[in-house]
């Protein structure tokens, strides 16, 4: 299944719910475009929710790294939520688990951004 991305906002934080495969071509491109679009409109605190996806090829992993780096370079944060075991294993194999901030549940992820997320308010 091709990657689908749903966007939610909690306060200043954008959560992208990912469903499908993040692979070379469409999947990676979509993720790149979506994160870049958020950065362009000024968003800086982004959570990628992996609950609906467990297929990530090396191009998909590369895209995660690129978006992580780009976000950081612009003073933002890209955090990973609810990694399925399969993706966690891939990040272990590639020794990347330490590179990303990862969370098991959404509230922890939201609160980790500090004051921005303390008073969650539904937007859009």
């Amino acid at each position: 299944m091709q990657l689908e991305i749903r966007e939610r906002k909690i306060g200043q934080i954008v959560i992208l719910d990912l469903t499908g495969k993040i692979t070379i071509g469409d999947g990676s491109n979509k993720l790149r475009d979506e994160v870049n679009r958020l950065l362009e409109i000024g968003e800086r605190e982004i959570i990628l929710n992996f609950e609906g996806t467990s297929y990530l090829d090396s191009s998909g992993i590369g895209e995660l790294i690129s978006r992580h780096t780009t976000t950081k370079n612009q003073g933002g944060h890209l955090k990973l939520l609810k990694l399925p075991k399969k993706i966690r294993d891939l990040l272990t194999v590639t020794k990347l688990l330490g590179v990303f901030e990862t969370f098991e549940n959404e509230q922890d992820a939201v609160l980790s951004f500090g004051v921005l997320g303390v008073v969650p308010q539904q937007n859009g």
Binding site: I24, G25, S59, I65, K86, V93, T94, V99
Partner: protein, 158 residues
């Protein structure tokens, strides 16, 4: 009953949207081999990486160049060879993606995937040009479903 190697060969044009044809075949073979769902996933990923490399680095998306896949299943192992028609490369010279200084490099993990998920990976230049990657995975010990035998009398083996 000793059985010969069961072989499937697939040739695709260099198009990312055709990769799935080879990974679907990998899934089918992996199932026939008796691998569990976890190993299916890993075999699928390793095969995807090798075909993606053949299209991207080998044939450089030239739709006139083909990628050739060969699946072979014996009682003991599943093998997958992927061949392209590009310039080839020397695997010895590749940077190590696990080296801390390469960790934030967005590329360079495909071959690591293959080596992690398959039991044996050989990367050689094909004598007639292009790169040929051969990956082998040993089949799980035949516990409940034995390696599918093939009858020659019309019935389906398994």
């Amino acid at each position: 009953m000793m059985q010969a190697e069961k072989v499937v060969e697939i040739t695709i044009a260099s198009s990312l949207e055709l990769i799935d044809i080879i990974t679907l075949t990998a899934d089918h073979f992996a199932k026939l081999s008796g691998f569990d769902e976890e190993e299916l996933y890993r075999i699928n990923l390793a095969v995807r990486e090798s075909v993606a490399n053949a299209i991207e680095h080998g044939n450089k998306y030239n739709a006139e160049k083909n990628v050739e896949a060969r699946f072979g299943l014996t009682e003991l192992r599943l093998s997958v060879s992927i061949r392209d028609h590009g310039a080839g490369f020397d695997p010895e010279t590749l940077p190590d993606p696990l080296d801390p200084e390469n960790l934030l490099n967005p590329a360079g993990r495909g071959i690591l995937y293959m080596r992690s998920f398959m039991d044996q990976v050989d990367l050689v230049r094909h004598p007639e040009g292009g790169m040929q990657i051969t990956m082998v995975k040993n089949r799980p010990a035949p516990s409940s479903p034995p390696p599918a035998p093939e009858t020659s009398s019309g019935g389906e083996g398994k």
